[in-house]
Symmetry: C2
Subunit: 199 residues, 2 copies
Protein backbone atom coordinates (compact mmCIF):
# COMPACT_ATOMS: atom_id res chain seq x y z
CA UNK A 1 0.00 0.00 0.00
CA UNK A 2 1.44 3.38 -0.99
CA UNK A 3 1.98 5.91 1.78
CA UNK A 4 -0.89 8.17 0.64
CA UNK A 5 -3.24 5.20 0.49
CA UNK A 6 -2.12 4.04 3.94
CA UNK A 7 -2.82 7.47 5.44
CA UNK A 8 -6.22 7.61 3.77
CA UNK A 9 -7.05 4.16 5.13
CA UNK A 10 -6.01 5.17 8.67
CA UNK A 11 -8.18 8.28 8.45
CA UNK A 12 -11.12 6.26 7.18
CA UNK A 13 -10.87 3.72 9.99
CA UNK A 14 -11.01 6.55 12.48
CA UNK A 15 -13.83 8.28 10.58
CA UNK A 16 -15.84 5.06 10.59
CA UNK A 17 -15.37 4.63 14.36
CA UNK A 18 -16.46 8.22 14.91
CA UNK A 19 -19.50 7.84 12.62
CA UNK A 20 -20.80 4.86 14.59
CA UNK A 21 -20.90 7.17 17.63
CA UNK A 22 -21.90 10.60 16.27
CA UNK A 23 -23.69 9.43 13.12
CA UNK A 24 -22.75 10.05 9.50
CA UNK A 25 -24.24 13.56 9.58
CA UNK A 26 -22.42 14.37 12.81
CA UNK A 27 -19.09 13.58 11.23
CA UNK A 28 -17.54 16.87 10.15
CA UNK A 29 -14.09 17.44 8.72
CA UNK A 30 -13.37 19.59 11.80
CA UNK A 31 -14.31 16.75 14.15
CA UNK A 32 -12.24 14.30 12.16
CA UNK A 33 -9.28 16.71 12.30
CA UNK A 34 -9.53 16.73 16.11
CA UNK A 35 -9.80 12.93 16.26
CA UNK A 36 -6.87 12.26 13.94
CA UNK A 37 -4.61 15.19 14.84
CA UNK A 38 -4.44 16.09 11.13
CA UNK A 39 -5.15 19.54 9.75
CA UNK A 40 -8.52 20.38 8.26
CA UNK A 41 -6.81 21.43 5.04
CA UNK A 42 -5.00 18.06 4.89
CA UNK A 43 -8.32 16.25 5.31
CA UNK A 44 -9.91 18.42 2.64
CA UNK A 45 -7.07 17.37 0.34
CA UNK A 46 -8.02 13.74 0.96
CA UNK A 47 -11.78 14.00 0.66
CA UNK A 48 -12.65 17.32 -0.97
CA UNK A 49 -15.99 17.79 0.80
CA UNK A 50 -18.16 16.69 3.69
CA UNK A 51 -20.31 14.75 1.23
CA UNK A 52 -17.32 12.92 -0.25
CA UNK A 53 -16.19 12.10 3.29
CA UNK A 54 -19.63 10.62 4.03
CA UNK A 55 -19.49 8.49 0.88
CA UNK A 56 -16.00 7.32 1.81
CA UNK A 57 -17.19 6.38 5.31
CA UNK A 58 -20.08 4.34 3.88
CA UNK A 59 -17.59 2.58 1.60
CA UNK A 60 -15.27 1.95 4.55
CA UNK A 61 -18.19 0.47 6.51
CA UNK A 62 -18.97 -1.81 3.54
CA UNK A 63 -15.33 -2.84 3.28
CA UNK A 64 -15.28 -3.80 6.97
CA UNK A 65 -18.62 -5.56 6.70
CA UNK A 66 -17.38 -7.63 3.76
CA UNK A 67 -14.21 -8.48 5.67
CA UNK A 68 -15.88 -9.35 8.99
CA UNK A 69 -19.17 -10.83 7.88
CA UNK A 70 -19.13 -11.94 4.27
CA UNK A 71 -15.64 -13.30 3.65
CA UNK A 72 -15.54 -15.66 6.66
CA UNK A 73 -19.15 -16.79 6.15
CA UNK A 74 -18.51 -17.58 2.48
CA UNK A 75 -15.81 -20.01 3.58
CA UNK A 76 -18.52 -22.17 5.17
CA UNK A 77 -20.04 -25.03 3.15
CA UNK A 78 -22.76 -24.01 0.69
CA UNK A 79 -26.37 -24.26 1.82
CA UNK A 80 -27.61 -24.11 5.40
CA UNK A 81 -24.17 -23.88 7.10
CA UNK A 82 -23.35 -20.79 5.05
CA UNK A 83 -26.78 -19.24 5.70
CA UNK A 84 -26.26 -19.75 9.42
CA UNK A 85 -22.77 -18.26 9.26
CA UNK A 86 -23.98 -15.21 7.34
CA UNK A 87 -26.72 -14.66 9.90
CA UNK A 88 -24.48 -15.21 12.96
CA UNK A 89 -21.75 -12.87 11.77
CA UNK A 90 -24.28 -10.25 10.70
CA UNK A 91 -25.76 -10.49 14.16
CA UNK A 92 -22.35 -10.08 15.81
CA UNK A 93 -21.64 -7.05 13.63
CA UNK A 94 -24.87 -5.41 14.82
CA UNK A 95 -24.22 -6.15 18.49
CA UNK A 96 -20.97 -4.17 18.65
CA UNK A 97 -20.99 -0.98 20.72
CA UNK A 98 -22.88 1.70 18.82
CA UNK A 99 -25.00 -0.92 17.05
CA UNK A 100 -25.16 -1.57 13.33
CA UNK A 101 -23.63 1.26 11.30
CA UNK A 102 -26.01 0.57 8.41
CA UNK A 103 -29.19 0.67 10.49
CA UNK A 104 -28.18 3.96 12.11
CA UNK A 105 -27.01 5.53 8.85
CA UNK A 106 -30.16 4.42 6.97
CA UNK A 107 -32.30 6.23 9.50
CA UNK A 108 -30.16 9.34 9.18
CA UNK A 109 -29.84 9.46 5.41
CA UNK A 110 -33.33 8.23 4.53
CA UNK A 111 -34.65 11.77 3.93
CA UNK A 112 -31.42 13.22 2.53
CA UNK A 113 -31.17 12.48 -1.20
CA UNK A 114 -27.62 12.51 -2.51
CA UNK A 115 -24.48 10.49 -3.03
CA UNK A 116 -24.09 9.27 0.60
CA UNK A 117 -27.67 7.93 0.64
CA UNK A 118 -27.15 6.26 -2.74
CA UNK A 119 -23.92 4.63 -1.58
CA UNK A 120 -25.63 3.37 1.57
CA UNK A 121 -28.69 2.02 -0.24
CA UNK A 122 -26.37 0.25 -2.69
CA UNK A 123 -24.44 -1.33 0.19
CA UNK A 124 -27.69 -2.60 1.72
CA UNK A 125 -28.90 -3.92 -1.63
CA UNK A 126 -25.59 -5.71 -2.21
CA UNK A 127 -26.01 -7.38 1.14
CA UNK A 128 -29.62 -8.37 0.40
CA UNK A 129 -28.40 -9.82 -2.92
CA UNK A 130 -25.83 -11.86 -1.02
CA UNK A 131 -28.52 -13.21 1.34
CA UNK A 132 -30.72 -13.99 -1.67
CA UNK A 133 -27.87 -15.78 -3.43
CA UNK A 134 -27.13 -17.88 -0.35
CA UNK A 135 -30.79 -18.98 -0.28
CA UNK A 136 -30.65 -19.89 -4.01
CA UNK A 137 -27.57 -21.99 -3.36
CA UNK A 138 -29.37 -23.74 -0.48
CA UNK A 139 -32.11 -24.73 -2.95
CA UNK A 140 -29.54 -26.06 -5.44
CA UNK A 141 -27.84 -27.97 -2.63
CA UNK A 142 -31.13 -29.69 -1.85
CA UNK A 143 -31.42 -28.07 1.60
CA UNK A 144 -34.22 -25.62 0.83
CA UNK A 145 -37.54 -26.32 -0.88
CA UNK A 146 -37.51 -25.72 -4.63
CA UNK A 147 -40.65 -23.57 -4.36
CA UNK A 148 -38.96 -21.19 -1.90
CA UNK A 149 -38.39 -17.71 -3.27
CA UNK A 150 -34.86 -16.67 -2.31
CA UNK A 151 -35.63 -12.93 -2.31
CA UNK A 152 -38.59 -13.53 0.00
CA UNK A 153 -36.33 -15.47 2.37
CA UNK A 154 -33.85 -12.56 2.34
CA UNK A 155 -36.64 -10.03 3.03
CA UNK A 156 -37.83 -12.00 6.06
CA UNK A 157 -34.29 -12.50 7.35
CA UNK A 158 -33.70 -8.75 7.06
CA UNK A 159 -36.94 -8.00 8.92
CA UNK A 160 -35.89 -10.23 11.82
CA UNK A 161 -32.58 -8.38 12.09
CA UNK A 162 -34.32 -4.99 12.01
CA UNK A 163 -36.70 -6.23 14.70
CA UNK A 164 -33.72 -7.25 16.80
CA UNK A 165 -32.15 -3.79 16.51
CA UNK A 166 -35.36 -2.01 17.46
CA UNK A 167 -36.20 -4.33 20.35
CA UNK A 168 -32.62 -4.48 21.61
CA UNK A 169 -31.21 -0.96 21.11
CA UNK A 170 -34.30 1.18 21.18
CA UNK A 171 -36.80 -0.66 23.37
CA UNK A 172 -34.15 -2.45 25.49
CA UNK A 173 -36.34 -5.53 25.58
CA UNK A 174 -34.39 -8.14 27.60
CA UNK A 175 -35.61 -11.07 25.51
CA UNK A 176 -34.82 -9.56 22.13
CA UNK A 177 -31.81 -11.78 21.33
CA UNK A 178 -33.74 -14.92 22.12
CA UNK A 179 -36.75 -13.74 20.14
CA UNK A 180 -34.70 -12.96 17.05
CA UNK A 181 -32.94 -16.33 17.24
CA UNK A 182 -36.24 -18.14 17.47
CA UNK A 183 -37.65 -16.14 14.56
CA UNK A 184 -34.60 -17.03 12.47
CA UNK A 185 -34.87 -20.72 13.37
CA UNK A 186 -38.55 -20.69 12.44
CA UNK A 187 -37.77 -19.06 9.10
CA UNK A 188 -34.98 -21.55 8.41
CA UNK A 189 -37.16 -24.46 9.44
CA UNK A 190 -39.98 -23.38 7.13
CA UNK A 191 -37.50 -23.28 4.23
CA UNK A 192 -36.08 -26.76 4.70
CA UNK A 193 -37.02 -29.54 2.30
CA UNK A 194 -38.15 -31.90 5.05
CA UNK A 195 -40.94 -29.49 5.97
CA UNK A 196 -42.75 -29.62 2.66
CA UNK A 197 -46.28 -30.67 3.47
CA UNK A 198 -48.36 -32.44 0.86
CA UNK A 199 -51.23 -30.11 0.01
Amino acid sequence: MAKGEETRQAILSRAFELATVVGVSGLSIGRLAEATGLSKSGLFAHFGSKEALEVAVVQEASRQFVQEVMVPALREPRGVPRIRALYDRWHQWGMRPGGCFFVGASAELDDRPGAPRDALAQACKDWIDELTKAASIAIREGHFRTDLEPAQFAFEEYGIMLGLHTFHSFLREPQSLERSHRAFERLLDSALVRNVRPS
Copy 2:
Protein backbone atom coordinates in the same frame (compact mmCIF):
# COMPACT_ATOMS: atom_id res chain seq x y z
CA MET B 1 -63.62 20.92 24.94
CA ALA B 2 -62.56 24.18 26.60
CA LYS B 3 -61.14 26.91 24.36
CA GLY B 4 -57.60 26.51 25.70
CA GLU B 5 -57.73 22.77 25.17
CA GLU B 6 -59.08 23.27 21.66
CA THR B 7 -56.22 25.63 20.76
CA ARG B 8 -53.68 23.24 22.20
CA GLN B 9 -55.17 20.38 20.16
CA ALA B 10 -55.07 22.44 16.95
CA ILE B 11 -51.42 23.34 17.61
CA LEU B 12 -50.57 19.70 18.29
CA SER B 13 -52.20 18.50 15.09
CA ARG B 14 -50.09 20.98 13.15
CA ALA B 15 -46.96 20.07 15.15
CA PHE B 16 -47.50 16.38 14.41
CA GLU B 17 -47.88 17.07 10.65
CA LEU B 18 -44.70 19.14 10.72
CA ALA B 19 -42.79 16.49 12.68
CA THR B 20 -43.58 13.80 10.11
CA VAL B 21 -41.81 16.00 7.55
CA VAL B 22 -38.95 17.64 9.46
CA GLY B 23 -38.54 15.06 12.21
CA VAL B 24 -39.11 15.45 15.92
CA SER B 25 -35.72 17.12 16.39
CA GLY B 26 -36.33 19.47 13.48
CA LEU B 27 -39.50 20.74 15.12
CA SER B 28 -38.64 23.98 16.90
CA ILE B 29 -41.00 26.37 18.64
CA GLY B 30 -39.93 28.99 16.06
CA ARG B 31 -40.89 26.71 13.19
CA LEU B 32 -44.19 25.87 14.81
CA ALA B 33 -44.88 29.58 15.32
CA GLU B 34 -44.42 30.14 11.57
CA ALA B 35 -46.65 27.18 10.71
CA THR B 36 -49.48 28.16 13.06
CA GLY B 37 -49.24 31.94 12.87
CA LEU B 38 -49.04 32.03 16.67
CA SER B 39 -46.38 33.89 18.62
CA LYS B 40 -43.35 32.06 20.00
CA SER B 41 -44.23 33.34 23.47
CA GLY B 42 -47.77 32.00 23.09
CA LEU B 43 -46.39 28.58 22.15
CA PHE B 44 -43.97 28.67 25.08
CA ALA B 45 -46.98 29.31 27.30
CA HIS B 46 -48.55 26.11 25.96
CA PHE B 47 -45.53 23.83 26.05
CA GLY B 48 -42.84 25.42 28.20
CA SER B 49 -39.87 23.97 26.35
CA LYS B 50 -38.72 22.28 23.17
CA GLU B 51 -38.49 19.00 25.08
CA ALA B 52 -42.05 19.29 26.39
CA LEU B 53 -43.20 20.06 22.84
CA GLU B 54 -41.49 16.89 21.63
CA VAL B 55 -43.18 14.80 24.31
CA ALA B 56 -46.53 16.37 23.43
CA VAL B 57 -45.99 15.53 19.74
CA VAL B 58 -45.20 11.91 20.58
CA GLN B 59 -48.38 11.78 22.66
CA GLU B 60 -50.35 13.35 19.82
CA ALA B 61 -48.95 10.72 17.41
CA SER B 62 -50.03 8.00 19.85
CA ARG B 63 -53.48 9.52 20.16
CA GLN B 64 -53.89 9.54 16.38
CA PHE B 65 -52.51 6.01 16.10
CA VAL B 66 -55.00 4.75 18.68
CA GLN B 67 -57.81 6.51 16.85
CA GLU B 68 -56.88 5.41 13.32
CA VAL B 69 -55.41 1.98 13.94
CA MET B 70 -56.41 0.52 17.26
CA VAL B 71 -59.97 1.65 17.86
CA PRO B 72 -61.37 0.52 14.47
CA ALA B 73 -59.38 -2.76 14.52
CA LEU B 74 -60.63 -3.60 18.03
CA ARG B 75 -64.17 -3.47 16.66
CA GLU B 76 -63.40 -6.51 14.52
CA PRO B 77 -64.21 -9.98 15.89
CA ARG B 78 -61.67 -11.43 18.30
CA GLY B 79 -58.99 -13.74 16.90
CA VAL B 80 -57.71 -13.77 13.33
CA PRO B 81 -60.08 -11.08 11.95
CA ARG B 82 -58.84 -8.64 14.59
CA ILE B 83 -55.19 -9.57 14.00
CA ARG B 84 -55.64 -8.92 10.27
CA ALA B 85 -57.37 -5.61 10.96
CA LEU B 86 -54.60 -4.48 13.33
CA TYR B 87 -51.98 -5.38 10.74
CA ASP B 88 -53.82 -3.78 7.79
CA ARG B 89 -54.48 -0.51 9.57
CA TRP B 90 -50.95 -0.39 10.94
CA HIS B 91 -49.73 -0.89 7.39
CA GLN B 92 -51.96 1.92 6.07
CA TRP B 93 -50.68 4.21 8.82
CA GLY B 94 -47.08 3.60 7.74
CA MET B 95 -47.79 4.13 4.04
CA ARG B 96 -49.00 7.70 4.46
CA PRO B 97 -46.78 10.48 3.02
CA GLY B 98 -43.74 10.87 5.23
CA GLY B 99 -43.95 7.24 6.36
CA CYS B 100 -44.48 5.98 9.88
CA PHE B 101 -43.96 8.67 12.49
CA PHE B 102 -42.80 6.11 15.04
CA VAL B 103 -40.16 4.51 12.81
CA GLY B 104 -38.72 7.91 11.89
CA ALA B 105 -38.82 9.23 15.45
CA SER B 106 -37.26 6.03 16.87
CA ALA B 107 -34.28 6.45 14.57
CA GLU B 108 -33.94 10.08 15.61
CA LEU B 109 -34.36 9.68 19.35
CA ASP B 110 -32.54 6.37 19.73
CA ASP B 111 -29.31 8.04 20.87
CA ARG B 112 -30.95 10.92 22.74
CA PRO B 113 -31.86 9.85 26.29
CA GLY B 114 -34.63 11.93 27.81
CA ALA B 115 -38.35 12.36 28.18
CA PRO B 116 -39.19 12.37 24.44
CA ARG B 117 -37.31 9.10 23.90
CA ASP B 118 -39.02 7.56 26.94
CA ALA B 119 -42.45 8.62 25.72
CA LEU B 120 -41.75 7.18 22.28
CA ALA B 121 -40.41 3.86 23.60
CA GLN B 122 -43.49 3.61 25.83
CA ALA B 123 -45.80 4.20 22.86
CA CYS B 124 -44.01 1.44 20.89
CA LYS B 125 -44.18 -0.93 23.87
CA ASP B 126 -47.89 -0.24 24.33
CA TRP B 127 -48.43 -1.13 20.70
CA ILE B 128 -46.37 -4.32 21.01
CA ASP B 129 -48.46 -5.22 24.08
CA GLU B 130 -51.59 -4.73 22.01
CA LEU B 131 -50.27 -7.03 19.27
CA THR B 132 -49.30 -9.58 21.93
CA LYS B 133 -52.74 -9.38 23.51
CA ALA B 134 -54.45 -9.90 20.16
CA ALA B 135 -52.38 -13.07 19.65
CA SER B 136 -53.32 -14.32 23.14
CA ILE B 137 -56.97 -13.78 22.33
CA ALA B 138 -56.54 -15.72 19.06
CA ILE B 139 -55.27 -18.67 21.11
CA ARG B 140 -58.24 -18.44 23.47
CA GLU B 141 -60.59 -18.25 20.48
CA GLY B 142 -59.14 -21.50 19.19
CA HIS B 143 -57.65 -19.86 16.08
CA PHE B 144 -53.99 -19.99 17.09
CA ARG B 145 -52.03 -22.97 18.41
CA THR B 146 -51.92 -23.21 22.19
CA ASP B 147 -48.12 -23.59 22.08
CA LEU B 148 -47.70 -20.28 20.24
CA GLU B 149 -45.98 -17.59 22.29
CA PRO B 150 -47.93 -14.35 21.79
CA ALA B 151 -44.93 -12.08 22.42
CA GLN B 152 -42.92 -14.01 19.84
CA PHE B 153 -45.72 -13.55 17.33
CA ALA B 154 -45.73 -9.80 18.04
CA PHE B 155 -41.92 -9.60 17.64
CA GLU B 156 -42.09 -11.27 14.24
CA GLU B 157 -45.01 -9.14 13.12
CA TYR B 158 -43.07 -6.02 14.12
CA GLY B 159 -39.99 -7.21 12.21
CA ILE B 160 -42.03 -7.67 9.03
CA MET B 161 -43.33 -4.10 9.34
CA LEU B 162 -39.82 -2.73 9.92
CA GLY B 163 -38.63 -4.70 6.89
CA LEU B 164 -41.42 -3.15 4.85
CA HIS B 165 -40.40 0.37 5.88
CA THR B 166 -36.74 -0.20 5.04
CA PHE B 167 -37.42 -1.93 1.72
CA HIS B 168 -40.14 0.51 0.71
CA SER B 169 -38.98 3.92 1.94
CA PHE B 170 -35.23 3.54 2.06
CA LEU B 171 -34.38 0.96 -0.59
CA ARG B 172 -37.40 1.72 -2.82
CA GLU B 173 -37.73 -1.95 -3.64
CA PRO B 174 -40.75 -2.24 -5.96
CA GLN B 175 -41.86 -5.60 -4.53
CA SER B 176 -41.71 -4.59 -0.87
CA LEU B 177 -45.47 -4.44 -0.29
CA GLU B 178 -45.98 -7.85 -1.79
CA ARG B 179 -43.06 -9.29 0.19
CA SER B 180 -44.34 -7.95 3.49
CA HIS B 181 -47.83 -9.27 2.81
CA ARG B 182 -46.48 -12.70 2.03
CA ALA B 183 -44.32 -12.68 5.15
CA PHE B 184 -47.34 -11.75 7.24
CA GLU B 185 -49.48 -14.48 5.65
CA ARG B 186 -46.71 -17.01 6.32
CA LEU B 187 -46.48 -15.90 9.95
CA LEU B 188 -50.25 -16.07 10.35
CA ASP B 189 -50.41 -19.46 8.65
CA SER B 190 -47.74 -20.89 10.93
CA ALA B 191 -49.74 -19.75 13.97
CA LEU B 192 -53.05 -21.33 12.95
CA VAL B 193 -54.30 -24.43 14.73
CA ARG B 194 -54.79 -26.42 11.52
CA ASN B 195 -51.08 -26.28 10.91
CA VAL B 196 -50.02 -28.13 14.01
CA ARG B 197 -48.04 -31.08 12.74
CA PRO B 198 -47.89 -34.21 14.86
CA SER B 199 -44.27 -34.52 15.92
